[in-house]
Symmetry: C2
Subunit: 276 residues, 2 copies
Amino acid sequence: MPASRSVFFLSDRTGITAETLGHSLLTQFDGIEWKKHYASFLDSPAKVQDIVDRINTAAEREGRPPLVFSTLLDPAILVSIRQANCYLIDFFESCLGVLETALQQPSVRIPGRSHILGQDASYFRRIAAIQYALNSDDGNNSKVLADADVILVGVSRSGKTPTCVYLALQYGVLAANYPFTPEDMGRVRLPPLLQPLREKLFGLTLSASRLQAIRAERYPGSHYASFVECQRELQWQSELFQQFAIPSIDTTGISIEEISASIIDRMRLERRLYGT
Amino acid sequence: MPASRSVFFLSDRTGITAETLGHSLLTQFDGIEWKKHYASFLDSPAKVQDIVDRINTAAEREGRPPLVFSTLLDPAILVSIRQANCYLIDFFESCLGVLETALQQPSVRIPGRSHILGQDASYFRRIAAIQYALNSDDGNNSKVLADADVILVGVSRSGKTPTCVYLALQYGVLAANYPFTPEDMGRVRLPPLLQPLREKLFGLTLSASRLQAIRAERYPGSHYASFVECQRELQWQSELFQQFAIPSIDTTGISIEEISASIIDRMRLERRLYGT
């Protein structure tokens, strides 16, 4: 049985930065069962005292100090946390010093700045990209497809929609999707709608057994979810991708983040948020 | 004119961790115009050499070493990057040491682990949550609404849809949304569909001038986008929220991340991903 250990994610604001980096670091240690505690918007003495108590209680219960990942900026709050029985991994503190030296100027230390999108342009672009992903989800409007930065193609349940939504949210990219139809699969040729858009296409593929599992989750026992059918469709798709030199990624066992970042990288798409 | 300075985000894999923390740190320094360079999936000597060259070129052009944010794990790649003319902020290196001491075991140092969702349960939950957000987007199916963890309510264009999508992607939460209709606004009472679901409601509000700007982006010159109409709807909504004690957040000028994290925090919603 793996050892169980408490880990706290503390933040003045959303906690997203602390959670992202913390989770990422925890994956580098095997054989431990993490008991996760989240405390965002830690901005009052009462909330801080409550967390300190919870850290100390966990330390006592587990016989070892818990890990604490923090992006807290308020020095007074940090002082309290440091007095708790824990290993503190203070992301900002360990990096801000290096940055202040490099930039030869002090940091402002104002919480929450990373999530204030001051620029309207960036805000509207993001909302527009999400709206675009939702509106273009059925994929058979050539006018809508023509606006896309990238068009994801793949058989039903290959993960196109979640990837489009993620590309919109994280990067502000206009991602459309085109699901192959049984008619398309009659022969190995590009569906007519896609022919003028060939250079925007990116394929999603996966193993037949994985596709079967995903389809069976929704339509158990159907022909659609049978291994034979999944294999047939993927075989057709693989020939299509090869014949028309459509770049593609095998999404079996990888996350939406990983698929999306690969698409950005391989299609050389511009990140459209954060004024980049 | 603000000084311009190059900053690189380097990763063995998606780069999302490096970008999240890096962006967050940069917001703590004012008056600098950042020139951002991204290099994800840095996994070959040729790619590494290319980046080293780009770092050195930027250093020469700007007369100062660029910043480099890294989540690289491969020691050989890190050695090359260290030889470039830069300030290296190595997130993993600075934290893994502390963690190894705390946990009394070595880290595995295998790239890409944070984005391999080994657990099928977590994968399916996330996909299902995204699908749920999309399916429930029109908000008038009582059976669908009953399944929600949270139901966002607000006038048209108050940001409900992007927030639902983000809650699904980041937390695996089932978030539905209900847009108030002109009929609803005839009197201050809860729409009948929402009456049995009162404890799941969370309101999104914003300033009338902000709402006007958002609506005008899409329907310039319309009555719908007029300041008077925006003000009228928001006034009605504010009375409703007050009368029925519906918790709400003013989203003016804050990001989707911030809105979502506040909802998780205030509604005490369980994070449904990462096996938490």
